[in-house]
Amino acid sequence: MTSHIKFQVKQLIRISYDFLLRCIFHILSVGPIPTHIAFIMDGNRRYARKNNIGLKDRYRPGFLALMSRVKHCYELGVKYITIFAFSLDNLRRQPEEIQRLMELLREKIEVFLENDGFIKKYGVRLYFVGNLTVLGEDIHAAANRLMEETANNTTTYLLVCVGYTSTYEMVHAFEESIHLGKENRIIELEDIEKQMYMSIAPKPDILIRSSGETRLSNFLLWQTEFSLLYCPSALWPELGLWHMVWALLNYQRHYAYFQKKMKN
């Protein structure tokens, strides 16, 4: 009997919480909603140390947090999400740490290929952006398969930056546009932008870096020239819905002033 009442109470709390969330989302949707949010998922190692999680499972809480972020962005109406999964600078880390990360990536790609419930629910189209040769042949092939299988989804776009740094992206874009220069055409800004890996998405409206560090670490330097930067001190697995709401409120608060500045 007591356990039945407890269950009922829990259900009631959950229903009330969901209702409160829906109210907040409705209120937020009255103001401008960003089209694209980018995340630097910093703080996984510190979180693992804080919670005594071993190397084997170090990045799993971070992955769960990512799924929650995708869900919240979907509910808020944010169409594009970009995450900084693996930087070319991270290749300087310990080999076993890199290996764990790659194993997690492989595992999750295979899970999505076999059971696409999450992808279908949120209509996610996946892109892997960057120098994918760092993944190794088999993960690279699996990533390509996942991109092909989700190519028809149009609700949410998840861009996973792997083997990526912004300066590498710009060099790659230069090389492509330099080939255009051989035809005696002067290279313009638009030519370079077309060759960028991130040309598949609009510029980020907000860039969120967790763990309190306030730097870009060679991520989306070209694209974030006018993006709002938000650096909460929460570690990546601790980042929650309320941080998203706060980021959105900040965005809405700056929006009118920023639009006025751009028009002037």
Binding site: L229, Y230, R253, M262, N264
Partner: protein
């Protein structure tokens, strides 16, 4: 009703915003020494009655040797290159019921003070975002005033730059500036070229994207002429071709942006790849020694990893 709710929610949230929440003081921390006459063509539409002239940050006995750092800063952790986006002049003036020109005028005083602090504390390079390529969209009156005030500052402060050992550089498309300002800038650069204590870079009519594009155009011509191969274009090579090649430390360690705006706004996009950002709520005219010390203290506490684990 929904719009009011959103506004109330965001205003309530704004009360406990950022990590650094310095409220701008109502009164500027400057002393008025002289009143300067405005040029005749700018007197009419502009009511600027706070034309400051400040003495330099040099101390009273004229000793311009490097000063010791404030006690809470460590020499070995000082940034080698500080970049500053001097934002908030317009809002500072609007809060006091004046036009933006009053804010720019007060901003120049803060500008001179911070340059002097960089020289005193031996910061090797300081880049100031004086005027962006987007700022050309402002009203002609405001742009004309900024150009005039900047030129006046250069003319008035040249001897102080020389005494403080400041060498001046510029980056940006200076061909768009008024001819008289271009001439004064060239003269200032020439007159300070033997100074070695601090390199101060003025980013005038500057766009971080255009900086990268001009480097690309240079290389595309070299490739077209057979002077270099496409695969020779690497990140290091591009960095050496950006306009910040005037200095041996092109990448800032620390970027400071005042006035609470949390953006890069097309400033040194490539060069800021690993820079620490410091955003404060203070409007630029109120940014002085204590705010600069706070920014430097914050920088010194940070652990920089450059993508790997220390």
């Amino acid at each position: 009703m929904m719009k009011i709710s959103t506004t109330l929610l965001s205003r309530a949230a704004a009360l406990s915003l950022n990590r650094s929440t310095k409220l701008s003081s109502y009164f500027p921390n400057h002393h008025i020494h002289n009143q300067h006459l405005l040029p005749n063509n700018l007197v009419g539409p502009i009511s600027c009655f706070w034309a400051h002239h400040s003495t330099t940050s040099a101390n009273a006995d004229g000793n311009l040797d490097k000063s010791p750092l404030p006690a809470n800063l460590r020499q070995e952790l000082m940034p080698r290159h500080v970049a500053i986006i001097m934002d908030g002049n317009g809002r500072w003036a609007a809060k006091r019921g004046h036009g933006p020109e009053v804010g720019h005028d007060a901003g120049v005083i803060a500008f001179i003070e911070v340059m002097g602090l960089c020289a005193r504390w031996g910061i090797p390079v300081a880049t100031f975002f004086v005027f962006s390529s987007e700022n050309w969209r402002r009203t002609k009156a405001e742009v004309d005033f900024i150009m005039w005030r900047f030129q006046k500052m250069l003319e008035d402060e040249l001897q102080n730059f020389i005494r403080q050992g400041i060498r001046i550089f510029t980056i940006g498309d200076t061909s768009l500036l008024p001819i008289s300002l271009q001439e004064v800038l060239e003269h200032t650069k020439e007159a300070t070229k033997h100074n070695t204590k601090t390199q101060v870079i003025f980013a005038v009519s500057y766009s971080g994207k255009n900086d990268i594009v001009q480097a690309c155009q240079t290389f595309s011509k070299k490739v077209r002429n057979g002077v270099m191969e496409p695969n020779e274009v690497t990140e290091n090579v591009i960095e050496k071709e950006l306009e910040t090649k005037v200095t041996s430390i092109p990448s800032p360690d620390l970027l400071i942006r005042t006035s609470g705006e949390l953006r890069i706004s097309n400033f040194l996009l490539w060069q800021l790849a690993y820079s620490e950002f410091y955003f404060c709520q203070t409007f630029w005219p109120d940014f002085g020694e204590s705010q600069f010390i706070e920014a430097l203290q914050c920088f010194q506490k940070r652990g920089r990893r450059f993508g790997k684990r220390i």
